[in-house]
Structures are given as C-alpha cells and as structure tokens.
C-alpha cells in the first residue's frame, strides 16, 4: 500500500519527516560520499555563529553506556564562511537546509537571522537556546520562559523564514518554555538537546572531558526525550520535532506516536553515516506495511 512520507511543519512541507540533528551532521557535505543527503526531509547545520569559533580544548568526547558525552563548544566556520563555502553546494544538490543558529545575546541571534535573509536555499532557522557546553548564551535562554520568548520574538522579527526553537531538557517545566516560544511566534519546537553529564577517569581522577561536563546523547537519553516531546506536544498547537537517541525507524516512529511531526537523527550518524537514510527507509516500510501516511502516525500513542 502507498505511504505518503510528506509532513507539514507549520508553513513548511518536508518530503519526509527525517532530519539530521545539528552538530551531528557537519554541514551535510561530509555525508555526500555515503548517500543522497537530498533524499532526507532536511539537515540541520552545525550551529552557526556570527564569527567563527574554534571550540573547546580536547578531550571533547567520551563514550558512555549506550551513548556519549560531548563538549565540542560549537566549533563552526562562522555564518559568512557557511554562506560562501557550504550553502552553494547544499543548494546545488537540492538539500533542504535548516540553519541552526547560536549566539550569546538576543541582538546577535537577530543579527544572524538578518544575515541569512538574503541567502537562498534555507528552509527554516533553528534557534539553539539549549547548548550545555558554552559559558554564555545557549542554555541560559532555554531555561527561562521570558528569555526564550524574547529570543523567539527577536528572530521572528528579523526573518521571513519559519523559526524553530530547540529546547533544553534542563528547563524545569519544558512545557512552560514551549508555550512561551509558541506565544512569541515560533513556527515549530525541537526537543531535546543533550542533557548535561559528567564522567571521571578512576585511574587519573581527571574528568574525561576538558570542559568537565558535556552533553549526553545517544540511545541512553531516548526515554527522557520521548517523555519531554510528549509533554511539549500536549502543551502547544505548533508542530514538534523529536530528537534524542534515535537510531532506528522504530525509535523514530515512537517519537511520531507521542506527538512529534518529524524527527532528527543525531549521534547515530557518527557510528553509521547512513543512519538517517536507514531510519527513513525503515519508516517508509512501516508506513507501506500498514497502509498509512507517516503524518497520520503523529500523536497516535495510547497515552
């Protein structure tokens, strides 16, 4: 039976619900040797800042049970180099690009959005108010509903594009932040970013990351992410994009069932560059087997 994979995220129609999570898919081009990246619903770029960032000192990564900690520190080429060197290739390949934005002030978030206004080939902006690994900005905006709303409104005002807000799992009441962003004009919400964790080497007594703490990702966080996506999806009318430990089609379908309209595959792309494609193909098989369109799975869990 036919399965229509298309999903609608506010003003945007995606060819399917599988995206890639920011920070786990580079600028998309790194994956070109492995599969047709344009076949995905879209890619969220590495977090872009106004100026290039070199990132945190090493070690930046460590493996943990069923996942990993990272403290990359938003190393990126900067928005100008992205527009000059990466975006033309992404555009030429027909890849749906969601530009992930990182800044340390409301003004800089707005400036980033304005900087991208004249660039073609960006489908939406994803605003990172939830990075756990930088001193300023990031998570500070994501745990306070007033700050979250202020950033959302500022980016909305600065851009004609759909604005997605990426939420932090560290907000005490994530639904409250979600509602604040919705009221401020967000077109979609993405949940969740990584959860702060810590690992110590018992031999050297040193933290395993130079940044000491890092963001936990991978299958270890999936149940937490599902619970939070469910809470957010119940609280708002705008679409929700589910993220957190998705490594298979079944994982992704769980997120749709609890209310996500689309998903992002994250660290699974590190261990298998074809993971997003495999998640998508598995979801299509699932839809065909049941004779369902993928969008019709959204929120169907018997909760």
């Amino acid at each position: 039976m036919a399965c229509d994979p298309r999903v609608t995220l506010g003003p945007l129609v995606l060819r399917n619900p599988v995206l890639t999570a920011s920070g786990t898919f580079g600028y998309g081009l790194e994956f070109e040797p492995y599969f047709d990246v344009a076949s995905l619903g879209g890619i969220c770029t590495k977090g872009l800042s106004l100026l290039p960032r070199v990132g945190n000192p090493p070690p930046r990564l460590c493996e943990t049970a069923s996942g990993m900690l990272n403290a990359i520190g938003l190393a990126n080429v900067g928005v100008d180099a992205f527009c000059a060197d990466k975006l033309p290739h992404l555009r030429a390949r027909g890849i749906t690009v969601i530009a992930n934005l990182f800044a340390t002030s409301v003004e800089d978030f707005a400036a980033l959005a304005r900087r991208l206004e004249s660039e073609e080939g960006i489908a939406a902006l994803e605003v990172n108010i939830s990075c756990p690994n930088v001193d300023k900005g990031g998570i500070a905006f994501g745990v306070d509903p007033v700050m979250a709303a202020t950033v959302t409104a500022a980016v909305k005002k600065a851009s004609r594009r759909p604005v997605w807000i990426k939420l932090s799992p560290e907000a005490g009441r994530i639904a409250e932040i979600a509602c604040a962003c919705e009221e401020a004009g967000a077109d979609a919400l993405c949940a969740i970013n990584t959860i702060r964790g810590l690992a110590v080497d018992p031999e050297t007594w040193e933290p395993r990351l130079a940044n000491r703490t890092g963001g936990l990702s991978g299958p270890a966080i999936k149940p937490i992410a599902l619970r939070m996506v469910w809470e957010v999806a119940r609280a708002v009318k705008i679409p929700v994009v589910g993220i957190g430990g998705i490594a298979s089609a079944d994982d992704a379908i769980e997120f749709l069932l609890v209310g996500a309209s689309a998903v992002q595959v994250g660290s699974a792309s590190f261990r298998d560059p074809c993971a997003p494609r495999e998640v998508l193909e598995g979801m299509l098989r699932y839809g065909e087997r049941r004779g369902m369109n993928l969008r019709d799975l959204v929120g169907k869990a018997r909760l």
Partner: protein
C-alpha cells in the same frame, strides 16, 4: 610511485562503510592482536589511513566505532589491536566469522619521503601499525627505511620481527629487555647525528614521544610527520570531537586533516 596524499575531502571518495566478517585473529605476544577482515572487494588504502571498526552485534553499547590504523589494505585488510577499554577488549576476543562494520579508508595517510631524505620510522608500542604498513610500501619502492622501535619492555614491541624484515630495525626498551636500554629518542639522536639531519621522521606512538621526536627533528633540520591519536566520534569530519591543538592557535582534526600531519603543525605544549 610514492604514496600520495588522500584527497582533501573528509572520508575521501573511496571511503565506504560495509559489513565484513572477521577472517582471523592472531595473538601477537600477550597483549596485542592482529585482526584480519574479509571484504567483498579490495580496500584501496594508503599507509597511515585508518578504519572505523565496530561489532555488528554490539547493540547500543559500546556505542561508537573504534578508529584503528590500517596494517594492510587489499581484500583482506588488517588492524593491530591493543586492549585499552571495552571496545578493544571486544575486538581482541572476537571470533572468525563475527561481523563488523568496517568503514575505510579514512583520513590522510603519510605523505611521500623526499628522494634526498632517509626515511626514519619512529614507533612506540602499538604505534608500529601505520609504520609497518609504510615500511612495506617504502621497501617495495626500493627505499631503505630505518626503523627505531621503543617500548617499556620487550613485550611491548608487537610485530618487531615483521618490521625487521622491511627496515633496518633498532630497538630500545626502558628495562633493557630488548635492544638498547632507554627511550627510542636515544636511537634517534644517533641517527640524526650520523645523517646530519638529512632524514624524514615518520612517527607514531605516545604523545610525549611524538612531542620529543618533533622537537629533536626541528633542532636537527630534519622533516617530521606524526600520526595523531585522538578519541573520535565519527572518523570523517562531522563531529569535530578529535581536536588536537594546532601550532599558532586553534585545532587540527585528527580524522579529516590527519591522522598524518606535519609534526611541526602541532602545538605539543597545550
């Protein structure tokens, strides 16, 4: 033809990830193992390039593949494993027939040795792996590499016999159980003196050893290339986890800009 650099595009056009069975596992001494895989078609890899290897049945833990320097390319490529944690422990206990995801060739291999320089391979312990691959390649080109190989004890010199067949091998151990007593840098001092620095050192081993060798080469006017080791997430430039401090500021990425980089491009002090 000298080995040429891999193209500057992440995993490179040849990189592919496939599922391959372990063909055989051979213990080398008491602490190392050579694992040989069987591919459907030959792996075209250069000395110094690496593979990301992960057990197909590992489930969600260990979560990440392990970056492993290649010992040989071709239809039955091999890696040298020293147990340092859970992933390498599983590799070192794997049985023939067990399936692995094998993602290769990745990274930049060793760059060529100029014709007017003697190739000097400086290996520490398990760091011998990319250097034995290089030594075989150099020998097949008619070059006569000198190999300096160091470890704490004679047990920490895996594949020394194989290295001795393709290079003029000199050994140093800290406890004197094989070769000269002391660090491998003592052997290098001698070579730099004898050759008046007209060498290119290819170095892979512990960070402190590589830092010391790079410093000695700089002082002697020798060329120096090192193979970086770092914890990696992806192995092809996507995660930016494998940062190594770069001379002059910022970072090098071991997977995509390395693992083989100019030894003077690394800030060894940070």
């Amino acid at each position: 033809m000298e080995p040429s650099r891999a193209p500057d595009c992440h995993g490179g056009p040849l990189a592919r990830q496939l599922v391959a069975p372990l063909l055989r596992r051979e213990a080398v001494g008491s602490t190392h193992h050579v694992l040989t895989f069987e591919l459907d078609r030959p792996l075209e890899a250069e000395p110094g390039q690496f593979a990301m290897v992960r057990g197909a049945a590992w489930g969600s833990s260990p979560f990440l593949p392990r970056p492993m320097s290649l010992l040989e390319a071709g239809k039955t490529p091999s890696i040298l494993v020293k147990v340092v944690g859970e992933g390498t422990r599983r590799l070192a206990t794997a049985s023939p027939g067990e399936l692995f995801t094998f993602h290769a060739p990745l990274g930049r291999g060793w760059s060529p040795c100029p014709a007017d320089r003697t190739p000097v391979l400086v290996a520490g312990g398990v760091g011998v792996c990319p250097l034995l691959f290089l030594a075989r390649s150099l020998a097949s080109l008619g070059r006569e590499p000198i190999a300096l190989y160091g470890g704490r004890t004679a047990c920490e010199l895996p594949l020394d016999g194989a290295l001795g067949r393709v290079a003029e091998l000199r050994i140093a151990t800290e406890d004197g159980s094989s070769g000269e007593t002391g660090l491998v840098t003592r052997l290098l001092e001698q070579v730099l003196r004898d050759t008046n620095g007209r060498v290119k050192a290819f170095v892979c081993g512990p960070r402190r050893m590589m830092a010391a060798v790079a410093g000695m080469c700089r002082d002697a006017g020798a060329l120096c290339e090192v193979s970086l080791e770092a914890v990696m997430g992806c192995g092809f430039g996507a995660c930016l986890g494998c940062a190594v401090p770069r001379a002059g500021g910022g970072y090098l990425y071991a997977c995509s800009q390395g693992p083989c980089v100019d030894g003077f491009a690394v800030d060894w002090g940070r």
